[in-house]
Amino acid sequence: MQYEISLLTIMGISIIAALSLNLIVGFCGQISLGHAAFLGVGAYTSAMLTKAGVPFTAAVAASMLMAGIIGTVVGFTSLRVREDFLAITTMGVGFLFLGIVRKQDFLGGEMGIAMIPDPGLGKVGYLVLVLLLAATLALFSIYLKRSWMGFTFDAVADDEDTANLVGIDVSSYKLIAFAMGTAFAGLAGALYAHNIKFIDPESFGFVESITILSMVVIGGTGSVWGVTIAAGVLSIFPMWFQFIDDYKLLVYGGLLCMIMLFSPDGLSGIFGRFLNTIRGKNFNASGQ
């Protein structure tokens, strides 16, 4: 039972991380290859604060704020560069985060931070908290998609220049997407830190950024359900079947490549087309 609880907790945290990236990549159409760095900012902030005696709730809130602020600063870069450059810049931010943290003694350097305080909710209590937060973020995402902000994100993702020429303040909308996405990444990072109780720079490296991105892409960028399911499955799949763990990255890499080749809109795209085919057949059957 203990094992299942810890699996589900990790799954919940992965869902929060993937949904947070989905706000930036899926909703607003801004590619980011350095998302794990913001999980890292959140994790380190919360770890340092709780070790200094700050209560868990306040530390988590602070880690969201911290990640959101740094994310907004990175968002400013996104205003200056476009698509291809943005991919490389966000990747650079990820590497820069690692490079800086590794050399800071007060952050534990290469060794990381151990003995991060337990929030005192018990295993089950913590799981419930994580799942509640994941569900809240999913609901918020669905609401956001339907709001005028989501509508505007669609336009920005489609064609920035044209959005600008129908009176949209594209820059502000992008910054909001970055601020929200990275703040929730900070939340995921803080939850991760208090779950594992140990963090080091490598926990937030490029491979982690790509893992989160692959959850979003495989689920279907922008699709809240697709991303949630993909994050849930991909996060626990390798642990459930230990023998896969050795081939985990091969599976991720291969899946990413294949999905891009055959269905760039991910599982939700496959599902959508499948539904259309069924509907189309019914229509044809009844119509002709």
């Binding site: 339907r146 005028w148 505007t152 669609d154 336009a155 064609d159 959005a163 129908v166 303040d169 909001i176």
Partner: protein, 250 residues
Amino acid sequence: MLQVNNVTVVYGGVTAVMDVSFKVKDAEVMGLIGPNGAGKTTLMRVITGTVKPVQGTVFLESTPLEGKPPHKRIRLGIGLSQQIVHPFKSMTVLENVAFVAGHGKTGHPVMSVFRHSRAKEKQKAMEILHVLGIDKVAEAKPENLPLGYLKRLEVARAIALEPKILLLDEPLAGLNQLEARQLADKLLELNQLGHTILLIEHNLGEVIRICDQLVVIDNGMKIGQGEPHKVMDDAVVRSAYLGEGHHAAS
């Protein structure tokens, strides 16, 4: 309504527009014509703010537009339809127009998250589509539509902003004669409903038919202005713009 004063634009050492001034009056259809590369689209971009002039000013009513980014100028009351159609591809035709019709709800980025009803905007969008005669394809995705529809969608989006002035960059280009005539008629209708229009257009027949005033540009310089028939009879305009070939043919 719109005033362009002494605008000069230089691109990498080449003067694209040279000291051009003109005024568009309320409720008027003004045609801006000239051969390819004369600087018409550049002037349009100076007005919307995507190109910065080295000299000159633009006023919308009495508001100077200098230093304002494009989205702010648009919101002051400029509806733009671009020469190359740029529909939002993930949206249906109706959503394209409804999105723009909701400009009041997207004006403040943070507040936009608290607004979610789209009913009014869809209704308004439907009315605009009806005026332009493309309400039948309201639910279609733009990528499946012929150019004639997309050109009208561009105009529909510009109208959805409820602008003080419509800037239309070659709305008739790429359309066949019948489609062009129909869309030109729609523009006249819009004008009669009270819209002020600045029209860049190559289709001279339609321009002369629907415009109240013409400004002619060649090589970045204004070479004529006035009522369509008078302007077209001007010798300078005829030789510069229409060329000898046209002269001989007529």
